[in-house]
């Protein structure tokens, strides 16, 4: 007991526990704020049917009673908090139940939480990918243009950066869709999957995927699981390799991890175990599918690669657009902080020592200019769901943002409000996780 207490009140543990407490407080404030603002709007859902001749006043009263709108406001507030904590975000008005048994609470309607569970991974994969790509490019370019201050490159990239940073996103996205999808025809116009590719899968995999649940989700989530696992593996190997003594050991571990990652990925996606078959497998217990099980798979199953390729193909254009729009912000930020760092004494000292230019730039100036960029990365990840609304809608990428906008436009309030609350909570939790990582990477933060 004492040791636990000690761990929680010193150093990193103290930092984490304080942050967690703060986040819980903020979470509570956020949920209360949303409740108050929504409650302050005139009327309620039943007013929607005032002009509807099919719904009599008695029926409207029944709706009010059913939704609990006749209860006193305080009781509704506690219900709202309790329901959120227990994972009930309400039942959709529009989406019907897709399982073979009625839902215990929503009966023939689909629970909002179920919808969010389906949509969230799609949003996360899209936004995580573009965030990493665009931050890397922005960091790299910002570093370069700050180093060559006053060159034509700087003016040119500042102008391009400002235009891309402030461009009207939906408009720009539409132009890119027109250019790449309509004009060149290299990528699909939009959507999440190509239905033609999946009709077969749905037929063959019906038993394995479960009644009513689309195989798409299972394949997509499996893909995510593998990609995420391999990324973690490679990242872990990289971090571990930094503790090794000799550069050649470090290099060997890093390249080895990368190679293992690619081989596993190839085996998984291509489904080919050398000399056996290049046709692999999806369905059957794909959730925890392991490539060696491939031997016991029956013939005639569907190759996984075209399916994964289908996702990737649909992801290319959104990622390109989002990267173009957002790398500029990082680039400008990096340029600014880099300009500040370059005036520091230690940079001059490094130059005076006679270190090569690129070493001073990369190891002395850029490393220290990185912190504000990491801060903005944290915010970018936290806001991924919120900022995704426009892009997802333009590209018909069926993620959280599109769900929120569509349900708001359709007056499907349980889903709209449920995903709004969830979006905020997601942002808070993502922020907490990123904060802890940040403190781990930069010791100055946690000893503040």
């Amino acid at each position: 007991m004492k040791r636990i207490w000690q761990a929680l009140t010193s150093g990193m543990g103290k930092f984490i526990s304080i942050r967690v407490l703060q986040i819980i407080l903020v979470l509570y404030l956020y949920m209360t704020l949303v409740f108050i603002i929504l409650e302050a709007q005139p009327g309620d859902i039943s007013d929607f049917y005032v002009g509807d001749p099919k719904i009599t006043p008695e029926a409207r009263d029944a709706i009010v009673q059913q939704l609990g709108l006749d209860k006193p406001i305080l009781e509704r507030y506690f219900d709202y908090l309790k329901n959120f904590m227990t994972g009930h975000l309400g039942c959709s008005f529009k989406f019907g139940n897709i399982r073979d048994t009625p839902d215990p609470i929503c009966r023939e309607q689909r629970p909002t939480w179920d919808l969010i569970k389906e949509r969230l991974p799609r949003t996360v994969v899209l936004f995580l990918t573009y965030t990493i790509v665009s931050f890397y490019i922005g960091f790299f370019m910002g570093k370069l243009i700050a180093w060559r201050r006053g060159a034509i490159v700087e003016y040119f990239s500042t102008v391009v950066g400002v235009v891309l940073f402030t461009v009207f996103t939906p408009w720009f996205a539409l132009l890119l869709v027109w250019l790449f999808a309509v004009n060149f025809g290299v990528v699909p116009i939009g959507g999440f999957i190509n239905p033609d590719t999946w009709t077969n899968v749905q037929q063959i995999g019906a038993t394995a995927c479960g009644v009513g649940i689309s195989c798409t989700n299972i394949v997509f989530n499996t893909m995510l699981l593998w990609l995420g696992g391999l990324t973690l593996f490679c990242g872990g190997a990289y971090l571990w390799s930094r503790r090794l003594t000799y550069p050649w050991q470090q290099q060997a571990v890093r390249w080895g991890a990368l190679a293992i990652g690619f081989v596993v990925l190839g085996l998984f996606f291509g489904g080919g175990w050398p000399g056996v078959s290049t046709q692999a497998v999806i369905v059957r217990e794909t959730k925890f599918w392991f490539f060696i099980w491939h031997f016991s798979m029956p013939a005639g199953v569907i190759p996984l690669f075209p399916l994964v390729f289908d996702f990737v193909q649909h992801m290319l254009l959104p990622i390109l657009t989002l990267t173009l729009i957002s790398f500029a912000g990082t680039m400008l930020l990096m340029r600014n902080t880099m300009l500040e760092t370059m005036r520091e004494d230690y940079v001059m000292a490094a130059k005076a020592k006679g270190l090569p230019d690129h070493v001073v730039r990369d190891k002395h100036a850029a490393r220290n200019a990185l912190l504000p960029v990491v801060t903005s990365l944290i915010f970018a990840i936290a806001f991924s769901v919120d900022g995704g609304v426009f892009t997802e809608t333009i590209f018909s990428w069926q993620g959280m943002g599109q769900l929120l906008l569509q349900s708001a436009l359709d007056h499907d309030y349980p889903v709209a409000i449920g995903s709004l609350v969830f979006t905020g909570v997601f942002a808070l939790i993502a922020h907490l996780v990123a904060d802890i990582l940040y403190a781990y990477l930069d010791p100055r933060i946690r000893y503040d």
Binding site: Y30, Q41, T166, N336, R343, F383, V389
Partner: protein, 342 residues
């Protein structure tokens, strides 16, 4: 008994203050004018301001410049849809040109319609001009509210510290991480958002967020300056110190962040109206792009043949947003000496 000595300044006090203010502004302007990006942005803003101000006289101007006497006569006497005044042609919401048959719309830029007409026959330039004023109003109003709230709260939180500080900083955490776009979408589907309401909501949400934190840290640096101590010793009250000594020193930074907030406010409005969530707004740049998009003029494969439908509003939003951003960057170099050239 001796009369209390009175101090008679050589000049009236207000004149001295005005003079000082003028000199301060001239100095700041000279520094601001050094940065090319800031000046470019300022030029674009002036251009759009003139563009928006030109709107009330635009139909009159067109009547005298672009329309011939015969055309005017014809427009007043066509069998159906005859107009009684030129304003009917250039109405941004339901104007039409009686000399152009409906099926010919959208028409390419011509003498009477410098940027062409859209698919319903509305003059694009008129729509563009009519929206400029409201975009400006929204952006500036939202940013003003943001800055007023941010400066006040930042100064108060820094000055009092303790529980006040903690409360406002936690509140700022909520507002920083608040999914504003999602929230506006849900709200827009519930009530009829007008530009004024939107400006207030945006102003309040931005005001309690990031800007409070930034201005508070600046105010903390001001608070420990000797002149604050001097003011307190001289008997200045809390109110006096906050409003006369702390806030004036925050204003340059507030003004800087105001510019960035104008950009975000204009962007939010355009995006919301693009998705049809601002039914209270009849015409705006976002709506212009939306109507071109929903009728297939952007993705229809013949985009560049109908460029006047989607190019002007998109370019206008981008230009105005980047103009405020550029001014902000220019001011940044004035306010933040560390960014100045080596």
């Amino acid at each position: 008994m001796q009369a209390a000595p009175t101090f008679e300044p050589a000049e009236a006090l207000w004149r001295v203050r005005l003079h000082l203010l003028g000199r301060g502004l001239a100095g700041s302007w000279a520094m601001f004018a050094e940065s090319k990006i800031g000046l470019t942005g300022f030029g674009i803003i002036v251009f759009f301001a003139l563009f928006g101000l030109l709107w009330p006289i635009y139909p009159w101007l067109m009547e005298h410049v672009a329309w011939t006497q015969e055309e005017l006569e014809a427009a007043r006497t066509v069998p159906y849809g005859a107009i009684s005044s030129i304003y009917q042609v250039y109405d941004p919401v339901n104007g039409y040109d009686p000399l152009i048959p409906g099926v010919e719309n959208p028409t390419a830029p011509s003498r009477r319609h410098p940027l062409g007409t859209n698919q319903f026959g509305r003059d694009i330039l008129a729509q563009l001009m009519a929206s400029t004023g409201s975009e400006f109003m929204l952006g500036v109003l939202a940013a003003l509210i943001t800055v007023i709230i941010g400066t006040l709260v930042g100064a108060i939180a820094a000055y009092y510290g303790g529980i006040v500080d903690t409360f406002f900083m936690r509140l700022a955490d909520v507002f920083i991480l608040f999914p504003l776009i999602s929230f506006l979408i849900v709200l827009g589907s519930m009530i009829e958002l007008t530009l004024l309401k939107l400006a207030f909501i945006l102003g309040i949400f931005f005001g309690f967020g990031q800007i409070t934190v930034i201005l508070k840290s600046q105010a903390l640096a001001v608070k420990v300056k000797p002149y604050i101590e001097a003011a307190r010793v001289a008997g200045g009250g809390h109110f006096h110190i906050i409003f006369r000594h702390i806030i004036p020193n925050l204003l340059p930074l507030s003004f800087l962040y105001m510019m960035f907030n104008v950009t975000s406010a204009i962007f939010s409005e355009a995006a919301l109206s693009f998705f049809g969530l601002l039914p209270g707004v009849k015409i705006s740049w976002g709506i212009m792009i939306e109507s071109a998009h929903t009728l297939g003029y952007i993705l229809g494969g013949r985009s560049f043949q109908n460029w006047w439908l989607w190019m002007p509003p998109g370019v206008a939003i981008t230009l105005l947003c980047s103009a405020f951003y550029l001014v902000g960057r220019g001011l940044d170099e004035v306010v933040n000496p560390r960014l100045r050239k080596r």
